[in-house]
């Protein structure tokens, strides 16, 4: 899930709660509020499809953390990531050493993809 999808999920939960505990307890209020958020999600998805620039603003851009065995410090600091975070993703792919990583990419959904040295 992207950050936007997370926001939508929590927003639906929040709206459902608000519609239940707020002054208007009606099912109509709750249903239409959730429906409005669902439609908003579809609208934003449509806009992202029409405009890649808008997609980059909403979902962000993939960022290279390790390139040719070198840490991209500007990106690491900007995204507040430590080498330990990258190594955690590397270990998930049975890579035990940073020297075996050719590329590490922070994806738009927040996961870190690892490309081994000998794979590219």
């Amino acid at each position: 899930m992207t950050l936007f999808d997370f926001v939508i999920v929590f927003l639906i939960g929040g709206v459902a709660l608000q519609a239940t505990v707020g002054r208007d307890h009606s099912v109509t209020n709750c249903f239409t509020a959730i429906l409005a958020i669902g439609l908003m999600h579809r609208f934003v998805a449509w806009l992202k499809d029409r405009s890649p620039r808008f997609g980059v603003i909403v979902d962000g851009t993939p960022l290279v953390l390790v390139k040719d065995g070198n840490w991209q410090l500007e990106v690491m600091r900007g995204m507040r990531l430590d080498p330990e975070d990258v190594m955690a993703a590397a270990r998930a792919k049975q890579i035990g050493s940073v020297f075996s990583i050719k590329y590490a990419v922070l994806e738009r959904n927040g996961t870190i993809s690892i490309i081994k040295q000998n794979e590219s």
Binding site: V56, V64, V105
Partner: protein, 178 residues
């Protein structure tokens, strides 16, 4: 098997790094985004600081005091209030008020704008007219305190007037934030 309605050839459109790994990284945009983020954090810190000071109600900046020209009546109130949040205006009638009975006039905007909920203690009588309400209270020893409980119904600026009927009133402006 039906053929697809639309088809387009696959092209290598995603930007690559080192001409080998298609990532689609846009570092120039990301740098702008980080600058925007930093500005946003500064703004957030300023909002929190202003909130702690009471710029959005419920703090030192929000509290205010006013007194009548003859110093017989003084009022403590919140000049910045929040919609739907209860607040209290305290009107103190001092010894300087040489009166047999305590009468206080409150303009209608205290009800229509600030959502006056209660007057404590309950007045003996309430008269309507002259664009507001005149409350009469049984007089004890002075100073005496009358409290007005508000619960604003909507955001905006509201002007209220409080004082002894027939004399110069104390005028207050209250900002209600959403």
């Amino acid at each position: 098997m039906a053929s697809p309605a639309f088809k387009t050839p696959v092209t290598d459109s995603v930007a690559k790094i080192n001409h080998e790994l298609a990532v689609g990284e846009d570092l120039a945009f990301q740098r702008k985004w980080w600058r925007f983020e930093r500005a946003l954090w500064v703004l957030f810190v300023m909002i929190i600081a202003l909130d702690c000071m009471g710029a959005f109600g419920r703090g030192p900046l929000a509290k205010s005091q006013i007194e009548s020209a003859d110093r017989a009546i003084e009022a403590d109130y919140e000049r910045i209030e929040r919609t739907g949040t209860p607040s209290m205006m305290t009107v103190k009638v001092n010894e300087a008020a040489k009166v047999d009975q305590i009468e206080l006039f409150v303009s209608d905007s205290a009800v229509s704008g600030l959502g006056l909920q209660r007057v404590i203690p309950a007045p003996e009588t309430t008269k309507i007219g002259s664009g507001g309400f005149t409350y009469r209270f049984p007089r004890g020893s002075l100073p005496a305190v009358v409290r007005f409980e508000f619960q604003p119904v909507g955001a905006g600026f509201y002007h209220i007037a409080v004082g002894k009927p027939g004399e110069a009133l104390m005028h207050m402006t209250v900002a209600v934030v959403p």
